[in-house]
């Protein structure tokens, strides 16, 4: 017998309460004065007996209630023998086939060694015992059902193939717990693995069920390994000469070494560098320029390590070459400084020069086609020529973006063009008196303001006050004047900046730390075409194929070998697809957008450090079966126990005692009935 929460047994101390009430308290009552005790007899014994007899039952019931309550909270249980229907154990053989099992030692891969070990285990399982083979990768894959057929089991082991996934022992433990629950049999789990430290999780996640015996069969130990751990590269290239690629080379349990690092573009090395990787450390390599052609390009960073795990010596990434997006800057000739600042921020200061600016006068674009532009900037508008506002509205409705910059001339307008909110007045603050406005509140999570923050130190001396009715204020100055507004119109968006983008009435453009990212984020936000597919993924992550709106159009996923991965039904219904191996996938979403996705193995698999023995012992001790020795498979008929809660019975007992206490207490505490006494009246 045991208790799940034994600390609650301290509640038994509460029994002292009825003891005090029934036995101690009554002895300590203050004496009541009475004229004479000559007619009372000193019958202490009988009095105490009387009291005890009267109240002993009530006392027992109350004490029992408290004891039962404490026991109930302590959650008692007894171990009962599990019904031995078959007297057997279910032997589970889990073979690790994660990415690290590709490592070779002595001319044999770890996976091959593990499969041989698994065959040995299965050969020792008695013919009467059921067994099951699992493959442990990113997920746990059941290779067979529970079966007694040794041939099926051996064939399942043979069929296990190496994968690029990352092993997770918590997944194995969860599977084993579920299996123990459903099979109603004690489990004997044999884990054949390289026991990577990085695959371990918190003990609560990896604990085994109470009647599970975990036996580990280590294959391979910790060996030196170098890997390309990470690559930082742009996903879109607009100017090949302005590309910067940074690669991190890591060595796990490895001595200091020189490594040759090459940048491979579409299968051809284009750059090579040598790097000194410290012992158990990391080194970075930077490649400038990437002579990619238009369209998708398959890129890799490789090292020439001669270690046991060559699979992690390259890191694939995908790059798409595009033309810069055109920005239409509509200005009446007075915003030359604003154009200069914008050009500096978007073109000169940009790492990838994703945008190019084309300036036009309002009358020139009033009726012209705007199809070639990604976004438009309407700078300091005054009275617009006929047709321009309608043209811009059409432009925005079609899914493009528009930035309206309200300058000193805009105060005369009754409302903001296209955005349509009313312009009230202009707020001035004198420079000479150093009275200025600053941003007081903003939506930090908005893509336009992300990282820009409060713009500390930026002073606004003149702001056009717009009452946000149709639009939504993203940033507000300290006099409650909206500085940045947004409105969704059709498929597109309109942003309104209530102060000029030159430094005539503010000093925003000269605060490059805020101005440059702000302008770039505005351009990306308005000029982009929505969230793009991530093009660099880790194995077992998912590519998005469709959102909820596009159901009837087909999506497509081609694996690195060019094979179609989706069935016809999946192509029209699947929302996501997991990428399970390294290489370049070609993905076409349901909206028709095509992308090339580079997939690489989780680099935690590259660290071949082994779980310490102490940790392993603790893990094996989580199951009541404890750590097995070599594994018998014939530990059938072991005396396994399962905890059996006594709480329901205690609850019923407590209910009965409470009822009895109520009845008894009612009888005792009721005022005594007056008993007639025959007496003679005084004469």
């Amino acid at each position: 017998m045991g208790f799940l929460t034994p600390w609650f047994l301290a509640g038994v101390i509460g029994v002292g309460l009825p003891v005090w009430l029934h036995l101690l308290k009554r002895h300590k009552t203050d004496p009541r004065p009475f004229p004479s005790l000559m007619f009372f007899e000193r019958r202490e014994q009988s009095s105490v007996v009387h009291r005890r007899l009267d109240y002993i039952l009530l006392f027992i019931l109350r004490a029992a209630m408290l004891v039962l309550l404490a026991l109930l909270f302590a959650a008692p249980y007894i171990n009962r023998s599990r019904p031995k229907a078959t007297g057997q154990r279910l032997v589970v053989v889990a073979v690790d086939h994660s990415f690290s099992m590709r490592a070779t030692q002595g001319g044999e891969s770890r996976l091959d060694k593990a499969k041989r070990e698994a065959q040995d285990i299965l050969s020792k399982v008695p013919a009467t015992n059921a067994a099951q083979v699992l493959a442990l990768g990113g997920q746990v894959e059941a290779m067979t059902q529970q079966t007694n057929d040794p041939e099926a089991l051996r064939a399942a082991v043979v069929s296990i193939q190496p994968t690029d996934g990352r092993a997770s022992y918590s997944e194995l433990a969860r599977f084993a717990r579920t299996l123990a629950e459903s099979s109603k049999m004690p489990l004997e789990v044999h884990l054949v693995s390289d026991l990577q430290k990085s695959a371990m999780a918190a003990f609560n996640d990896v604990r085994m069920a109470g009647d599970t015996t975990l036996i580990v069969h280590p294959v391979g130990g910790e060996i030196p390994n170098w890997t390309v751990e990470n690559v930082v590269a742009p996903t879109h290239v607009y100017d090949p000469k302005r590309v910067r690629i940074t690669a991190t080379i890591a060595g796990f349990a490895a001595p200091a070494a020189k490594r040759n690092v090459s940048l491979v573009l579409n299968g051809k090395p284009v750059q090579m560098k040598q790097v000194d990787v410290p012992a158990n450390g990391r080194a970075q390599v930077e490649f400038l320029e990437l002579p990619v052609s238009y369209g998708f390009n398959k890129c890799e960073v490789r090292i020439d390590s001669a270690d046991a795990l060559p699979g992690d010596d390259s890191f694939a990434f995908s790059v798409e070459r595009l033309d810069p997006k055109k920005i239409l800057f509509i200005d009446n000739g007075r915003g030359a400084k604003a154009e200069l600042y914008l050009h500096t921020a978007l073109v000169d200061a940009s790492a990838d020069a994703a945008f190019q600016i084309e300036t036009q006068r309002p009358e020139n674009v009033a009726n012209a086609s705007l199809n070639g532009y990604a976004l438009a900037i309407l700078n300091d508008p005054t009275t617009l020529p006929p047709g321009l506002e309608a043209n811009l509205q059409t432009f925005v409705n079609g899914g493009k973006g528009l930035l309206v910059v309200l300058g000193t001339s805009s105060a005369a307008l009754p409302k903001v063009p296209v955005e349509d909110d009313v312009i009230d007045t202009t707020r001035y603050a004198g420079r000479e008196r150093e009275i200025f406005l600053t941003i007081s509140s903003f939506e930090g999570g908005h893509p336009v303001l992300k990282g820009v923050g409060r713009m500390d130190g930026v002073r606004f001396y003149q702001v056009t006050h717009v009452t946000p009715v149709k639009g939504h204020a993203l940033a507000t100055l300290n006099d409650e004047t909206p500085l940045l507004l947004e409105r969704q119109i059709g498929e597109g968006k309109v942003l309104v900046f209530a102060s000029p983008l030159d430094n005539s009435v503010n000093d925003f453009p000269v605060h490059g730390a805020y101005f440059v990212p702000f302008v770039q984020q505005v351009a990306t936000y308005l000029g982009g075409s929505g969230a793009e597919q991530p093009v660099n993924l880790v194995v077992d992550q998912y590519v998005e194929l469709r959102t909820g709106e596009s159901k009837n159009t087909a999506a497509e996923v081609l694996d690195p070998d060019g094979k179609r991965l989706l069935s016809a039904q999946e192509a029209t219904t699947a929302k996501t697809y997991p990428v399970s191996r390294e290489g370049f996938y070609e993905v076409t979403t349901a909206t028709g957008k095509r992308s090339q996705v580079a997939v690489h193995a989780d680099r935690r698999e590259s660290d071949l450090a082994v779980i310490p023995k102490e940790t392993l012992d603790l893990w094996q001790g989580t199951g009541s079966g404890g750590a097995g020795g070599e594994g018998t498979g014939a530990a059938a008929g072991g005396d396994s126990k399962i905890p059996w809660s006594l709480s329901p019975f205690l609850l019923l007992l407590l209910l009965g005692v409470a009822l009895a206490e109520s009845v008894v207490a009612n009888g005792y505490l009721r005022p005594p009935a007056e008993r007639p006494v025959i007496r003679k009246e005084a004469a």
Binding site: S36, E41, V677
Partner: protein, 295 residues
């Protein structure tokens, strides 16, 4: 008239004991008692045959002239009587279950009797005692005697007592003339000891009335739980159960009262049980009716 029905608890709130006594006794002036002495006053009582040695001055010579027989002429006494009130102030008199202590009630009763005696021109006296004689006001009809008596009553404080015989032995020294003696006490003693202590007064020719003053809780105690009781006189404590108090104690108490009454009457004395829950005027009315019936 309404004051006749006032509860003793209400009277206790009145400050002046003198007023209280007047208020309570007023209206009973017709209840004059007679002196037990047969003297030679104006009221004829009876003739008695002459015996050698009788005083010849009391012979009715007119009867002798007509019948040649000698008879003595006797007259009934009137107010030439001592009324002594013996007030018990023992510790047990301190008890009171409803706010009014027995001693307070006893003081009202005592003051009323003394006032009544004073109105009758009797020589009223007072003895306050517990285990000793604590105060003594000699019987007198002098002016200011009533005030002296009431003052003594007011000054009476509860004391101790474990033995009633000791103070009564001393009382004999103070009460030399025959008269009426009213003893006000709760008589928490064995009946034989009470009678033994009081009986000498009767032997000396006194008219003795025992006012047995008891609280209703003393007669019928009501307990809900076992309680620890403390004797007000001895300080002794004892645990008592409701069951015992409801049955055995009541039987014993009733037997005790019956025994005292029987022994008192057997000794030629009057016994009068006073329940302190009753209005005082009712008790006095009963007392006077009792005396009138006897005399």
């Amino acid at each position: 008239m309404l004051q006749r029905f006032l509860d003793p608890g209400v009277l206790a709130s009145l400050a002046s004991l003198d007023l209280v006594a007047k208020t309570v006794v007023d209206g009973f002036i017709s209840g004059l008692h007679r002196s037990p002495d047969f003297g030679f006053s104006q009221e004829f009582a009876e003739y008695r045959s002459y015996n050698p040695g009788d005083d010849l001055r009391h012979v009715d010579w007119n009867v002798f002239a007509r019948s040649e027989r000698m008879y003595l002429k006797r007259y009934r006494g009137e107010t030439n009587c001592q009324v002594n009130v013996l007030l018990d102030t023992s510790g047990s008199m301190k008890y009171g279950s409803k706010g009014l202590e027995k001693l307070e009630y006893a003081k009202f009763l005592c003051a009323s009797i003394l006032y009544l005696a004073h109105l009758q021109r009797d020589a009223a006296g007072l003895v306050v005692f517990d285990d000793e004689v604590r105060n003594f006001v000699a019987p007198s009809t002098k002016q200011g005697q009533l005030h002296r008596l009431l003052h003594a009553v007011e000054q009476a404080q509860p004391g101790k007592r474990t033995d009633i015989t000791r103070p009564f032995a001393h009382l004999m020294d103070f009460l030399r003339r025959r008269g009426m003696v009213a003893v006000i006490s709760d008589f928490w003693e064995a009946p034989e000891r009470v009678i033994e202590a009081v009986q000498p007064l009767r032997f000396r020719g006194n008219e003795v009335v025992l006012f047995h003053l008891l609280d209703p809780e003393e007669i019928k105690p009501k307990l809900r739980h076992p309680v620890m009781l403390e004797d007000l006189e001895s300080g002794e404590t004892m645990e008592v159960t409701p069951d015992y108090a409801a049955k055995e104690y009541r039987q014993k108490m009733q037997a005790h009262m019956d025994d005292i009454e029987a022994r008192t009457k057997g000794a030629g004395m009057d016994y009068f049980l006073v329940d302190t829950s009753r209005p005082l005027d009712g008790a006095l009315r009963e007392y006077l009716a009792l005396r009138t019936g006897r005399l």
